[in-house]
């Protein structure tokens, strides 16, 4: 009761203090900076521009302001020399607790005021895109806990060092660390500026919010533990830190609570379920090369999405006429926990290893008896993102608005087993979702009693790309192909307003005319799929192309003269499907130290330039493509290490790696297109180049990595030597 009474007194005192009001008003203004210069999230989606960025900016600014207030208030009794009086009435430890709770209460009130203050503007600007749940969650998950963490840390630091300027300095160091490159890509180190790469307008924004919620709880535990520990450090009886600490240890509940909270935080950090615990460098897959001795006659995967928890539950069933014995390995995304392995209804023990390849971790199990008939692997969990690519995802999401599973992120690969050419997929999803499996619709489904649907398909590719959403589908014919344009229903208004169907048809016609018909694109059909901003950018493959939703925002689509940027990304990605099947990449895309400019990007950029030249004229194309490439190459060639590569060799490896990465984009997206442009001029013009590229398409299409289209092949097709294409 006494503590509650003190809390009320302290709350009232703080609420009437002018410092508190100054901090509250400035905290309310903090989100304003997020609309313009303090943008930490993708602003090309409306949810990012009007929710994520203001909230993130307000989070950081408010956290610092409330920490300043905490330091001022913590120092107040010592500054006014009233500590002698107050310590005689109330224990300083209890007073510190009361002060902390009062500050937390007031900061919560300030956060609530922020919610109300920015609500009308956000609703007006976002219109039908506005999601009230996302709006509220952003403040409650990102802003408020971070303010509390900041208050706890500031109070803790002060209570330990007992000097306000030193505490302020140490606090600034903590803030700086969160912004430094050490914490740049680490979700869990960024205590004051949580990572929200992007929100999504048309799909789900829960991906990063879930991680943010986890990190906020983690840091609340850590900061709470540190703060509780600092209570023991509060100076008492005119003694120094060590003596006061020793005496206060007698309050056993304090160190116990501190330890419990800190251990919780540390364990949450170590055991975090979002990023894999594999090596920092990407490990290529090579388990394909294992000898497989057990012939499998049938494979069935039963995947059930659980959007509420964000998890996937799966049962993989393998049927054999006579399975072999021995050690077998499962390669599975480490986010999944293998629940059981059954062989002919008998449990099989298994052991997880520490070996990682790609996004998979190896688990071994031993089949002691040969001649088995069925092998069942049951697993559940949530696919983690690769540590070497964090905080950027591979697009895996399981939410109530969107399901996206890429590559091996949903199904295991097994070594030692010889798989049949097809497998059966049974996919259970919420009833309102339409799935796309490898960018194709699934026709067969059954309606379950709980409202979910189970979709069934026989599939030949063991590398699956699965997305499911409440899609809108526009079907049309263009360039002799049946085109399905698939996008989130929330974008229907924009797509209609900007006549996207017509724009897409235009691009298809151009590329077919100049590069030839897509011989490998399923013959006569093409899927064009919008994907979430969380796995933004573009991608293309056999018979399909994907674009991130940033391409389709009103801001981008309303300005076609923006040049070779977001508004024309959809063209670029669509052009990729003409070049993606030629195996041009040859692994260079993954090897960031490889500065070889040859890849399908150069060909795609060049083709996009040609289309824009055709559409908007030579002057436009020169301004937004050729001049841009040349400027990038000029800048690259001005670079010190480009002119003096011998200095690069003298640097430590980490510096070399960072500097090499800086050149890669220019090589792929600017230097190579210029070289192809030069080739065009040398071979005799655009028509001749089109002829060459058409012949390349017909000769190399669908070769994939077996017989890739190399730079030498390109030179041979043009009748040129390597020296001919060296840029002046």
């Amino acid at each position: 009761m006494k503590t509650f009474f003190l809390y009320r007194v302290e709350l009232r005192r703080l609420a009437l203090s002018k410092f508190t009001w100054i901090v509250t008003v400035l905290s309310l203004c903090g989100p304003l900076t997020g609309y313009s210069f303090l943008q930490q999230s993708n602003a090309s989606v409306m949810s990012g521009q009007y929710i994520a960025n203001p909230v993130l900016a307000g989070t950081v600014i408010g956290a610092i302001l409330w920490a300043v207030l905490t330091l001022i208030e913590s120092n107040r009794v010592y500054r006014n020399k009233t500590d002698i009086l107050t310590d005689a009435i109330v224990s300083p430890i209890r007073m510190a607790f009361v002060r902390m709770t009062a500050l937390a209460s007031l900061s919560a009130a300030a956060c609530f005021l922020c919610v109300l203050a920015y609500l009308p503007y956000t609703i007006v600007k976002m219109d039908y895109i506005f999601n009230p749940a996302l709006y509220m969650m952003s403040f409650l998950i990102l802003m408020l806990p971070t303010w509390w963490i900041s208050i706890l840390l500031a109070a803790a630091i002060y209570q330990i060092v007992q000097r306000v300027e030193l505490a302020g300095l140490l606090y600034v160091v903590c803030v700086y660390f969160s912004f430094s490159r050490f914490a740049n890509s680490d979700f869990f180190s960024r205590w004051i500026n949580p990572i929200i790469i992007t929100y999504s307008d048309g799909f789900s924004s829960l991906y990063y919010l879930r991680i943010a919620l986890y990190t906020r709880v983690l840091w609340l535990a850590l900061a709470g533990g540190i703060w509780t520990l600092s209570l023991i450090c509060i100076r008492r009886y005119q003694k120094n830190l060590l003596v006061s600490f020793w005496r206060s240890l007698r309050k056993v509940y304090l160190p116990v609570t501190a330890a419990a909270l800190m251990v919780t935080g540390i364990m949450m950090w170590r055991g975090q379920p979002f990023v894999d615990h594999g090596p920092a460098e990407f490990q290529y897959w090579d388990y394909y090369n294992t000898i497989n001795d057990s012939k499998i006659s049938a494979v069935t995967y039963r995947l059930t999405a659980k959007p509420e928890s964000g998890q996937l539950h799966s049962i993989a069933e393998y049927t054999s006429t006579s399975g072999g014995s021995g050690i077998k390995s499962i390669w599975l995304n480490p986010g999944y926990k293998i629940l059981r392995i059954m062989c002919d209804n008998q449990p099989v023990s298994f052991t997880a290893t520490s070996e990682f390849q790609g996004d998979s971790q190896r688990t071994d199990f031993n089949l002691t008896q040969s001649g088995w008939k069925t092998l069942t692997i049951e697993y559940e969990g949530y696919p983690t993102m690769l540590r070497c690519f964090a905080p950027y995802t591979w697009g895996n999401e399981v939410t109530s608005d969107y399901v996206s599973l890429n590559n091996f992120s949903s199904m295991p690969s097994l070594t030692g087993l010889n798989f049949p050419g097809t497998f059966t997929l049974e996919l259970t999803l919420p009833g309102y979702m339409t799935p796309l499996l490898n960018h194709q619709f699934i026709e067969d489904y059954t309606l379950n009693t709980d409202g979910t649907k189970t979709w069934t398909k026989k599939e030949s590719s063991y590398i699956i790309w699965l997305t499911a959403c409440d899609y809108n589908v526009e079907s049309f014919n263009a360039a002799g192909m049946n085109v399905n344009f698939v996008y989130s229903k929330k974008y229907e208004t924009i797509m209609t307003e900007y006549n996207m169907q017509e724009a897409l048809a235009e691009v298809l016609s151009y590329c077919t005319e100049h590069l030839g018909r897509l011989s490998w694109a399923g013959g006569s059909s093409l899927m064009m799929v919008q994907r979430s901003a969380i796995s933004d950018g573009g991608n293309a493959g056999e018979g399909w192309v994907e674009w991130g939703e940033s391409t389709f925002t009103a801001g981008n689509l309303s300005d076609p003269l923006k040049g070779a940027n977001a508004a024309e990304v959809f063209v670029h990605e669509m052009v990729h499907i003409w070049w993606g099947g030629l195996g041009v990449n040859c692994g260079s895309e993954w090897d960031v130290s490889n500065n070889d400019p040859w890849s399908d990007e150069g060909l795609t950029v060049y083709t996009t330039y040609r289309l824009m030249k055709d559409k908007y004229g030579e002057e436009y194309a020169k301004q937004y493509y050729i001049d841009v490439w040349q400027a990038a190459v000029d800048i690259q060639e001005r670079g010190f290490y480009y002119r003096n590569p011998e200095y690069l060799d003298r640097l430590p490896e980490q510096y070399r790696a960072d500097l090499s990465t800086m050149n890669r984009g220019t090589n792929l997206y600017s230097r190579m297109p210029l070289m192809i442009l030069k080739a065009e001029q040398l071979v005799g013009g655009e028509e001749k180049m089109d002829e060459i590229l058409r012949s390349v398409q017909s000769r190399f299409a669908n070769n994939g990595f077996d017989k890739p289209f190399t730079y030498q092949d390109f030179l041979d097709a043009c009748g040129l030597q390597e020296e001919d294409l060296i840029l002046d």
């Binding site: 300027e165 300095l169 010190f640 640097l651 500097l659 800086m662």
Partner: protein
């Protein structure tokens, strides 16, 4: 006078707080060297005067914050209590203030030498570069106006209220991140990053190190304003 200076140095610089600030400055300086300077500023060599100037511009905000922390000693409530005694001595108030500021200046110079030394060490170890004479001009042009301006502003503001010095620290950090016309960047970072891009490359591929008239004028202005503010601030106050 030497004795007073000795005691002021002991009080301001020989303590854990300054040592901690020195360490923090060192860590930040090395971080700047290994992330920004090593890449070379504006496509010049990492050891070009441009890169060196940009490096100093990056570390100056933190050094200035350190200097402002030292100034808080002069304007704190505690100092005012001691001033009751020291103001009753025959020492000339202006001379006394100058002696004390000499201690701050020595601390500042020590800090500068430390971060410059780190940079020179970096150049020697990773690039085997030892022609340090070319760094004198960028060092003077970057450091001197900053310091004089901040000292003057710090003393003026500190006389109003010591708490405002912490506000000035925030301002000094904000100035380093907010975009201003290149020539008028107090710390010079924008100038060193952008001006070389407008210059033609020399025979060795490096643009010559030139200081534009606008930049020099701005540096001169900061210097003059700083001197004026400093002169105003060292006048003794007598209550009427």
């Amino acid at each position: 006078m030497i004795k007073i200076l000795k005691y002021e140095i002991r009080r301001l610089l020989f303590n854990k707080f300054f040592l901690g600030l020195l360490v923090i400055n060192g860590i930040f300086a090395w971080y700047t060297l290994s992330s920004d300077t090593v890449a070379g500023i504006a496509y010049t060599a990492p050891f070009s005067p441009w890169s060196f100037g940009a490096y100093l511009s990056s570390v100056m905000p933190l050094i200035m914050i350190t200097v402002l922390f030292l100034l808080t000693y002069f304007h704190s409530k505690k100092e005012k209590q001691v001033e009751v005694l020291t103001s009753a001595t025959p020492i000339d108030a202006v001379r006394y203030m100058l002696i004390r500021n000499t201690a701050v200046t020595l601390g500042f110079l020590f800090l500068c030498l430390f971060v410059v030394g780190l940079c020179l060490y970096f150049y020697v170890v990773y690039f085997n570069y030892r022609n340090f004479a070319v760094f004198i001009i960028p060092a003077l042009v970057t450091i001197l106006p900053c310091y004089v301006f901040m000292m003057g502003a710090g003393h003026c503001i500190g006389r109003i209220h010591s708490g405002l010095l912490y506000f000035l620290m925030i301002i000094s950090f904000a100035v380093s991140v907010v975009k201003v016309p290149d020539a008028f960047d107090l710390f010079g970072g924008s100038y060193y990053s952008n001006f070389p891009l407008t210059l033609p490359a020399g025979a060795d591929g490096e643009p010559a190190f030139v200081l534009s008239a606008a930049f020099l004028t701005a540096r001169g202005l900061y210097l003059v304003i700083g001197i004026v503010l400093f002169v105003i601030s060292v006048r003794p106050v007598r209550k009427k």
